[in-house]
Symmetry: C2
DNA sequence: TGTTATGTACACCGCCCTGTGTGCTTACGG
DNA sequence: CCGTAAGCACACAGGGCGGTGTACATAACA
């Protein structure tokens, strides 16, 4: 069954209702949250009948899981694949988020679902660990003494900035970037090639 | 830990139903989240009739706001008022949270309510800013070069650890504490007192 | 052509939620 | 003692939610 997983708008037989549903959920779940988005509204936004939606997904939970599963490409890839930046610049670029980003949906999902056993919560953990791993890879490339530690630290900074931005309604990523710069400089033994700002502690 | 009897509000003849309601909401909203806690369940836990609850609070929103408003004493005070610690130790003690703490309820509330105009969201902002201010005060006491910046940075670390703990279901505060130690040491010009501890082993 | 998978339109169910209306019981203060 | 206000028990309204049943329409492919 369902061999229609052709990625680009699977023009198999129907007219891609499944993609429209996922696309609508990407938008609505982000804008309004998961619990505040009803299936009626979602189906209306996707221009899909409710019956069709429930033929593609056994329930809302499965849709939520798929919504989280399909996320990495949009945020993760854009930063780490830039070859025009040095590894150190790439680490810092992770904190240059466009102001359009509302909030990391994985944090929101973990709070809203409130069930660590939920499949979507598992995807959230996977994503968070994947981000930390990629940060660690880049940290290793940059010559950090303990790449795993630095990766975990930078990941924590990103999450902190995301959470704080949400609560305070004010961009907290510059603060996180400043911390990241300090951590990176402290973690890289002695790199003369980079433009790192040696900090003489005020003075 | 419901030690609800005899609040200062018990001036009337009633048996402090209001305090019981707030106490129950403290527990249930934290354990289950706001949206997942119905008024029926809450009233049952508080041993209060639903009618009484709605005579004390015009609606659930008002109760949620009050739930957030009454929080600072339990978490905030315990750390900053310890005179047995040096300012630097006090800053680090903010990351020594007991494992009983589920998650900063302000972050959860901001996600669950999803409305920056909600009065509870305003309380959340006030609290976050108050914590940052107290951290800044302590940082100033510790002799930091830029206390406000350090306070904001440490506050971000706390929020990041809270969010990450929630998503990954694993304690992230040790990592945050390690970052905090680096930031503090970098921010304090030259600690002649030299009370800096040995480097904590960060997992 | 016909079959089958896919999608549509709309009504519908049961559940749980916030919030009320109504009448009754209790505790206190004068 | 009685009066009054706080609190209680119970039922119920109104609505949104997730999810389903049924009958019909369309596109692809044999």
């Amino acid at each position: 069954m369902t061999e229609l997983e052709k990625g680009p708008t699977g023009r198999r037989r129907g007219r891609g209702a499944r993609e429209r549903i996922i696309s609508a959920s990407q938008q609505l779940f982000r804008e309004q949250g998961i619990n505040r988005t009803g299936m009626d509204q979602l189906c209306a936004a996707a221009q899909v009948s409710k019956r069709t939606a429930y033929q593609h997904f056994t329930g809302k939970d499965e849709l939520v899981a798929e919504y989280l599963r399909r996320f990495d490409p949009s945020v993760l890839s854009g930063v780490f694949d830039r070859t025009d930046l040095t590894p150190r610049e790439r680490l810092l670029a992770a904190f240059d988020i466009p102001p359009t980003t509302p909030l990391c949906p994985y944090i929101a999902a973990a709070v809203e679902l409130h069930d660590p056993q939920h499949p979507a919560s598992q995807y959230a953990r996977d994503y968070k660990e994947a981000v930390a791993a990629r940060l660690a890879d880049t940290a290793r490339e940059a010559g950090a003494a303990d790449p795993e530690q630095l990766g975990e630290q930078l990941a924590l900074l990103i999450d902190g900035a995301a959470a704080r931005t949400r609560v305070l309604n004010a961009d907290a990523f510059p603060t996180a970037a400043a911390i990241a710069a300090v951590l990176i400089d402290n973690a890289i033994p002695a790199t003369a090639s980079d433009d790192r700002r040696r900090e003489e502690v005020s003075s």
